[in-house]
């Protein structure tokens, strides 16, 4: 037996499993986004909602119970703001991001479709390689969004591509179906075209922690303004207009 092992060295495998769960208080749109990710990523294990937002330290334990070495945790705040934690288990790092502009696969505008459980290609634009946080994020996303060949429900063909692009210091996510033929010329020469499948969302990185859901901060985004602060600024702006008008009346 030993001889066989020596002549044929064990093939190296990319082994990833992702625990996917949310906090309480997610809206239907956030829940649908999670369902979309579950449908697209066959190596995801979905778990029930986490009871308390102050007990993130339970997550590494939960991931361990489910044999997962990655976690995607959606945290809803005030029933309108959504945060996403992408973390490596059990030792970190953890990336906390703010999720905006969510469109799910339910929307009728996106006409693409792909096999349930087919492995998607991952495409990162060049900007990821230009900063240290970008390189780290690319590595973590490669683990989480890349479907390993050995995933139980994975299909052997490639029919979609996930793109991650940095624009305006945010990460934009898109998912396209890869077609071999131009739908307008079904008998023409084979030509690659794409149709968007969805979902869509935009991630603003907020902080990167060294550990799993904790530990020292190694990156914080100076440009990030919390959505609550944005809303209160808008309200203040509106009240200013009102005050000016009232002052003029007096």
């Amino acid at each position: 037996v030993d001889d066989v092992e020596e002549t044929a060295p064990k093939k190296k495998k990319n082994k990833q499993r992702v625990l996917l769960l949310s906090s309480r208080g997610v809206t239907h749109r956030m829940r649908h986004l999670m369902n979309d990710l579950e449908a697209l990523l066959p190596h995801v294990k979905k778990d029930s909602k986490l009871d308390s937002k102050s007990q993130l330290h339970l997550l590494p334990e939960l991931a361990d119970l489910n044999n997962c070495n990655n976690t995607l945790y959606f945290e809803a705040r005030r029933h309108e703001d959504l945060y996403l934690w992408a973390a490596k288990m059990p030792n970190g790092p953890s990336i906390k991001m703010h999720v905006q502009n969510i469109h799910t696969m339910d929307e009728l505008k996106m006409t693409g479709n792909c096999l349930k459980g087919s492995r998607g290609l991952l495409s990162f634009d060049k900007s990821f390689d230009e900063t240290e946080w970008g390189r780290l994020t690319k590595e973590v996303f490669t683990h989480i969004f890349g479907v390993p060949q050995t995933a139980r429900k994975a299909k052997p063909f490639i029919d979609h591509i996930l793109t991650f692009s940095i624009l305006d210091s945010k990460i934009w996510f898109r998912n396209f179906q890869i077609l071999e033929k131009d739908p307008l010329q079904p008998n023409g020469p084979p030509q690659t075209t794409l149709v968007e499948i969805g979902p869509r969302f935009v991630l603003t990185p907020i902080r990167i922690f060294e550990g799993a859901f904790g530990g020292a901060t190694v990156y914080s985004n100076p440009e990030f303004v919390s959505p609550a602060a944005v809303r209160s600024a808008i309200r203040r702006e509106q009240s200013k207009k009102y005050n000016v008008r009232k002052d003029a009346e007096d």
């Binding site: 009728l108 479709n113 890349g146 063909f157 499948i197």
Partner: protein, 115 residues
């Protein structure tokens, strides 16, 4: 009341992030077929508020990724295209795709009507 805007403390600990990345990095000798990662050799440089050009930029990135991946797949002798006789569950159900199709038909009918 002229409160000075609090300056946020910026943390950008490059060496620590590099160390963390090396600690979790996948084995570089893994074949491409294990990760399927592509890097787009350009940065996306468009106006964020210009929806059309922004989406075109993302489309171009995906198209380049798909084309390059097909070449890589051929090189690795890795199945890429789904044969036309291979059927399996899709992420969107037939009922959903029918609704999508119906919407397209309705739209084109509406355009014809207005002409």
């Amino acid at each position: 009341e002229d409160a000075i805007a609090k300056r946020k403390v910026e943390i950008d600990n490059g060496p620590a992030m590099a160390r963390i990345r090396e600690s979790i990095q996948l084995d570089p000798s893994l074949p491409w077929t294990e990760t399927l990662v592509m890097t787009y050799p350009h940065a996306i440089d468009v106006d964020v508020n210009d929806d059309l050009n922004r989406e075109v930029a993302f489309y171009k990135q995906a198209l380049q990724g798909a084309t390059d991946a097909r070449k890589l797949a051929t090189k690795h002798n890795f199945p890429f295209t789904r044969p036309s006789d291979y059927f399996a569950e899709m992420v969107k159900s037939d009922a959903h795709m029918e609704r999508v199709r119906q919407r397209l038909l309705d739209e084109s009918a509406a355009i014809k009507k207005s002409d």
